[in-house]
Symmetry: C2
Subunit: 173 residues, 2 copies
DNA sequence: CAACAAATCTCAGTATACTGCGGACTGCCC
DNA sequence: GGGCAGTCCGCAGTATACTGAGATTTGTTG
């Protein structure tokens, strides 16, 4: 089992001038995509009691830290697209975890707040979220975990503006 | 500009026992999600001439290395969900980059091949793909890039089975 | 041959993520 | 006070990613 399938055994020379190009495992984008898939899978598993996705949890914790925020602010805080935040909040509202109302000063805005249940669930989920993090990083030593977090943080920080959801910059601590 | 918004300034104490929990920037899952967003944005930008997504490109290179593969094999090679590979191939086929036909021995299968144009585009895209990789990793020194690739590879390898698309293991070389 | 299990693929439904467009509202300038 | 640019939000459409159910084909077994 797990036999590593010798794909470069004899079938490779394929179509044209040597089929291979770079292996997927040497492409950062591939590793990032796979890591994201794995993270989501582990998170959903650990948080299955709450039927809540990583993005929904991110929005709920953003609301814990910034209640009554409008959607643009929430999108920046959580690193989520401006259109998508609207969908996410709608789903959370449908489940009774979030309340949305028109802004009092500026009626273009719709400000959001956690309901009592949303607040409770957001706090309850913390340990499940920590378990998911621990499971994701478990294969690495403590030292390597720190290295990885630092490298990813550096990269996200520096490339922030390339995505449509440029997330508020890392707090300066 | 980019004023780092002191969100923990005075508005925090929010609802219950201190609003903050862990900062998003300390959560590996958040960084992985953001890194994925950024990677996709950069890739789409660099490859805008080809109107081709990272996943579509991954499938095309998998087909370069393994022409005539069935969908399960392709899904494993490219680390893509079994349902999703079907959609991706359909879109590629619609654009005339891929041909699908029923398997000759086993008619449950649908084997895929790049068309001549698909082959050409897949090869043409290599340098754009390399530019995207370079841009994504540019903020890091060469040494840090190697570290990051190694750490991500280790993590994906070890956690492979947690996602629904467990990707063929890293080739042993 | 008929029944059954397994493999491959498809379809319906949901969630994230983005583009592009338009509507509603605000604040500013003339 | 009337336009006008800019902001906030929503809708339509597309792509990835997954769950769960079902259809088709294959191979095995009674």
């Amino acid at each position: 089992m797990t036999e590593t399938k010798p794909k470069t055994g004899g079938s490779s020379t394929s179509t044209g001038s040597g089929g291979s190009l770079t292996s997927l495992w040497e492409r950062p984008g591939y590793l990032v995509r796979r890591l994201h898939q794995i993270h989501v899978a582990i998170f959903l598993d650990e948080c299955s009691d709450y039927a809540t996705t990583p993005v929904q949890y991110a929005v709920m914790t953003a609301l814990l830290n910034n209640p009554g925020a409008d959607q643009v602010t929430l999108a920046n805080d959580a690193g989520i697209d401006r259109t998508n935040i609207s969908d996410v909040l709608a789903r959370l509202a449908e489940r009774g975890l979030v309340k949305r109302e028109a802004g009092k000063q500026d009626r273009r805005m719709r400000v959001a707040n956690l309901t009592q249940e949303g607040d409770r669930i957001a706090r309850d989920m913390e340990h499940a979220s920590l378990s998911a993090q621990a499971r994701l990083m478990a294969p690495l030593s403590a030292e390597k975990r720190d290295q990885l977090m630092s490298l990813m943080g550096e990269l996200v920080d520096a490339n922030n503006e390339f995505s449509r959801a440029p997330a508020r910059k890392r707090p300066a601590d």
